[in-house]
Symmetry: C2
Subunit: 142 residues, 2 copies
């Protein structure tokens, strides 16, 4: 039988519980934020802390400077994406958290899920992004 | 010898040529944009067309509506991220393109690198993001 569009993977929406289960292990995610020159996105190591993700970045880096500048004592709108796709089967999933990110104080850092960055070097700026909205999709063959 | 920070992967900046080489094969990337409720990011299939990336999305979807709304005949600031990370070795790379995205006309679609989306279903909104800025980083053990 010839391949046709019905052989292709389909998109399925995932519920919040499934999304949080998929990303629970931590690893690499991507923070989307506005650095003053428009939307941008950078990969970071993260861990999950309830309905929030915790991530670390360099104090001197652009992510920290952007988030701190915009935050000004409050929180800044940001999104956090985690996905896992398999090239050969063309299947996988993605999860998106949207909400406010805020920097963690030293006291708070001691109370949240710990994050171990892959690269060496200073990663002393910690952030928590609380998910107001959690969505996800799976691409799979029916 | 005990593990210490010098055993950890290091970050290396990649030049523009290396970045474009890494993403040349196409596959899955992530578009960051502002949908009016702050920055967000969604995975899409893409191909590379010179210094630009081409991606497709659903006409009815949020990505298309957001980009079209903001574009208003011009282009909208967006970012495009591609990465490949290996969990076990904790190594990998990421490439970021920043610039303006604009919708393609039918005539333009015929002239650019083609994109085959993984999932079935309508993906009739085509966009081109021209990279004004290309940057990338590799995480690797020295």
């Amino acid at each position: 039988m010839a391949a046709n569009s019905s052989d292709r993977p389909v998109l399925e929406e995932l519920d919040r519980a499934e999304c949080l289960r998929l990303i629970a292990g931590g690893s690499v995610g991507r923070v989307a934020f506005d650095d003053g020159e428009g939307p941008t996105v950078v990969p970071v190591n993260y861990s999950v802390d309830g309905d929030a993700v915790i991530f670390r970045t360099s104090v001197a880096g652009r992510l920290n400077r952007s988030l701190l500048t915009v935050v000004a004592g409050g929180e800044v709108r940001a999104a956090f994406e985690v996905d896992r796709f398999d090239e050969s089967s063309r299947q996988g999933w993605s999860v998106l958290l949207r909400g406010g990110a805020h920097p963690l104080t030293e006291a708070e850092i001691g109370r949240v899920a710990q994050v171990e960055p892959w690269p060496g070097g200073e990663r002393d700026a910690w952030f928590r992004l609380a998910a107001r909205e959690v969505s996800g999709r799976r691409v799979h063959r029916p």
